[in-house]
Symmetry: D2
């Protein structure tokens, strides 16, 4: 067996800290031996989460250049991704990049083109739902064709509350982006157009958001998609997907867990948040990535192309929000590396 993978985590906010703990206590074959943050205090605190192994850096480019790491995990805000990713490609080191790939579709396309020019996959994007057992099972029905062709996808994405200063655009970039990737993952097709419908807003959204909204999409083979995005759904967290095929209908994301009858009611507890709902998916995602790298193979999870396509769809979605019209999504040629 190869030695443990030496990993540096860039960005030590909530997501970065979670990943440090995950890599240290849950994932076999990896050690967090570096921690990068511009805030030295936060970096030191994060290093403690990894035990004694982790060296503290405040410049990601220095860490990238050091030669001390087998791979990197990037969790800083999206607008800081571009430079780090370009440097990682330049140094030819594998990097796991939390979504979004970059701040916009144009720069995301540049990353795609740069990686394609290298002819080597180094970047994996953190669309963790692809590692959820339910997502994988649903994809199985798309792939095996046993229920005939897919015709429609009904998606529900409900959060208990939205963070302060959340905006309509963030509803697309932060939340719907997962459904966008899900549609691409299930169907294996690109999304060709997006429309957004706004209706009555929940008073729970505090006057700030038009919440919920309905996002309508279409794929290359004319699968119709509707997404309910509701980020102040109050009752808890829920991601539900219903796929309509010619011969049947498949649902994933139904309520599970202990079933209780008391006080005149039957039922159970709703999952409080994505951390609980997708805990196993996060673990599976990282374990798979670590195993792939330790085996000397290129990453085979969501690619830079997937990150770019999602960014392009999000931009079209925000344009559709603004205009009230249907907006086409155009991606340009897909480099051979991603086919």
């Amino acid at each position: 067996m190869a030695e443990n993978l030496r990993i540096a985590v860039i960005g030590t906010g909530r997501m970065g800290s979670d990943h440090i703990k995950r890599l240290t206590h849950t994932i076999a074959g990896a050690d967090v031996t570096g921690v990068v943050d511009i805030d030295a205090g936060r970096a030191t605190a994060a290093a403690a989460l990894a035990g004694d192994h982790a060296k503290v850096w405040n410049d990601p480019h220095a860490a990238l250049a050091s030669g001390e790491y087998d791979a990197f995990v990037l969790t800083t805000p999206g607008m800081l991704h571009y430079d780090v990713l370009m440097d990682a490609l330049d140094k030819r080191v594998p990097i796991f990049c939390e979504k979004p790939l970059t701040a916009d579709a144009a720069t995301a396309r540049e990353i795609v083109d740069a990686e394609a020019a290298l002819g080597q996959r180094l970047i994996q994007v953190g669309f963790m739902r692809r590692f959820d057992a339910g997502y994988q099972r649903l994809r199985g029905w798309f792939e095996d064709g046993s229920l005939g062709a897919a015709l429609m996808l009904h998606c529900r994405h409900r959060n208990p509350t939205s963070p302060p200063n959340f905006t309509d655009a963030l509803m697309i970039y932060d939340s719907v982006v997962h459904e966008i990737d899900g549609v691409r993952y299930f169907t294996g097709e690109e999304i060709t157009e997006i429309t957004v419908r706004r209706g009555r807003a929940s008073r729970g959204a505090g006057g700030q958001l038009s919440d919920p909204q309905q996002i309508l999409m279409r794929t290359e083979s004319d699968v119709l998609v509707d997404v309910e995005i509701f980020v102040n759904a109050a009752f808890g967290y829920q991601v539900h997907t219903e796929a309509v095929f010619e011969q049947g209908v498949v649902d994933i994301g139904g309520d599970e867990g202990a079933y209780v009858r008391t006080a005149g009611r039957w039922g159970g507890a709703v999952t409080p948040g994505f951390e609980q709902r997708f805990a196993a998916a996060f673990d599976t995602e990282f374990q798979g990535w670590v195993n792939t790298l330790r085996a000397g193979r290129a990453p085979d999870g969501p690619s830079a192309w997937d990150g770019y396509a999602a960014a392009a769809c999000c931009e079209a979605g925000v344009a559709a929000q603004d205009s009230g019209e249907t907006v086409a999504v155009t991606l340009g040629d897909k480099p051979a590396l991603y086919r």
Copy 2:
């Protein structure tokens, strides 16, 4: 089509009044044209429920002798059933008898023998669960053999609270009697032995009852049956039956109805009582009985034999409660009329 059936209802307590309303407002082809109760005020009030048609009697034997009725419904307490049933057999008029058939197995056997001597079925016993769609569907699996032979039956009978002055014996006579009939209905077999286990009692039972209890039975072909009887289950009403076959398992009585997600929970409302759970079964039972009689046929619902067999099992069940031992059930020969 024949004229409407003229029915007299004997006994106008809660069950009698419910049946008057049912026959008047829900059942096609029947009129309640007589009402019998020893309490004249109660009888008059009950007659009003039937509109202007109903004549008031205070002696059931006078009503039986009057020749004014096509059929009778008997809902007085069980200890008053024997004389009325014997008189109805003597007059050869159809009579629908709410359970129990009579006060004990010995007198029930006398009714069976009297009806068998007549060679004509006149009595139908009110085991209404046989008319529940779920019960009928489960019986289908026993009959068609598509899942192989039946091996075990797990039964749950839960009431929210027990009435005042309820006793351990009434748990058998009033509640378990429905499970006893259900086992006989599903399997088409007689019950051969009964054991009762008492464990920790719920404080909700008020110190008065050993509640819940577990009733263990065995049928002629050695199907093992266990019944949880819990008459202070607090959360609501539930009748659940799980049948284990060689090739599969079938459940009926699961929770149904609108599905709600709110306040951190998913689920729905529990049925509050048997009236709601078995409302359709009561209607189906009476409509079938009325249709049969209007068509000039003998009743084909639960027979006097079914009432007798249930009574014999209940007596064995109470003996098993008292002794802590397994008690055999012996029924004697089954008259040809009931085969």
Copy 3:
């Protein structure tokens, strides 16, 4: 109690025959004493379903003029409704009219205006889903406000197969019309606009239909509605409605019935068709109508206005199918009689 209601059924096709059987064998307080059909042989056969009571007519206007009936049930094709309804209003007799009210929105509006001019409700329209226990329970959440305001409605209407010669327009007039009425019933609001999206068609639709389709609607208070209409869904019949409120989400129409585990699968049987799914609703609808008339009251079920509003929405829906655009629905003033 009043005498049984004397009813004549106009039209004796499948739906008419079903209603004759229902009124004869299931509904208390009604006799089918007249049967009307232009085809004498079919009328005679239908009369036999009602026993000896029913007189045969071949002209509905003669039956309406005879004075022999307390009420009528109209089940002929929709294009024949207008004349009969106008005559019934003229004669001031109650008439139960299966959907659609008339052949188009303009003539439906004339019926509304004529009834409003009379100042008396005589017409009830056969939107039977309003009598389904699940529909009524879901409406309860809209009315009591315990989950806050309604925001979205997701509707699924799936049939196993479509009849021969079915068309895209009939998908609206025959199937979506029930969802249109459902939205109006749940929200208590009118529908203000309709859009139709077509995507990939199922090969099960035989090249004839664009099936499934997605119908998007909006109500007066901006509740967003999406309907999946899929009339060749292959697996069986399903009507599912999910209502999104500010504080929670409610589903009705989930799968029910016996729960089986066998051959590596858990689950149960899908309802085969609307007759099974809404059997109890048909009975409740007619029993309520009969009870109302016997009590000397005007019908309080779905009104001519409800029939007209549905017709107007269907016309807008077909226009939306044809144009690919969002089409506004305008109803004009609502007469005081229907408020």
Copy 4:
């Protein structure tokens, strides 16, 4: 962070090999650096599963004496456990012992007494269900008392088929043992008596077994337990537990996963076996054990006492099978170490 734990796995059959893969590829902080099997070929093959790290031994006592390992995992057949466990206690090394603890209750008690005499917990027993999320959630209701006191436990343990040469006694030792430990885990009480009921046997059991059977137990506070053990249930694997409390009822182990409607059915796939059902539990169990040892703490999972109590219950269960009588379970004093 401490160095990785060096572990030797004793016994390299199916369970041993699974654990080697698990410790190598799934568990953080552990390396399998030794493999012990009397069969040299099998040992070498198993060592390959662990990569290059693992040294091969054929005598467990030599490995225990070598000082090269921080901890051991014991997966040989139960009759070989006693000597290895005694040696491990003698050497004071932590050892994870797959069930059963030893071949019988008497020798299990000797292990308990030896460990108690040391005054130090070194042994953890592989009752992996305690690490299942559902089991832990159900235990929560026993601990927090929010539903009142526990009254009854209904347990179902169904396997698709039994291995060749399976016996009635093995149904207890191999399968019911998990339910025995579950009852002790949920209630925190010892089991005081056991009865076994045999009924009609499934033909799927091949004439060899009386399958299914019903195992009845009672705990110290008189909680009544019934277990259906059915090892040829044909349809798949299922472990279902229903706990009846004073104020409500809780179920765990219901069917989960993608929900499909096709070919007239709704439902999903049954779990095929315990490996799928308890995959996460096995991982959680080992990760917890490794984390505890790396932190320098004594193991806090199922103890030698738990292994001994289960063995005593199994012996009583087999005696109850043989006699048809209720058999008391007596454990003797519980050493302070385990309280």
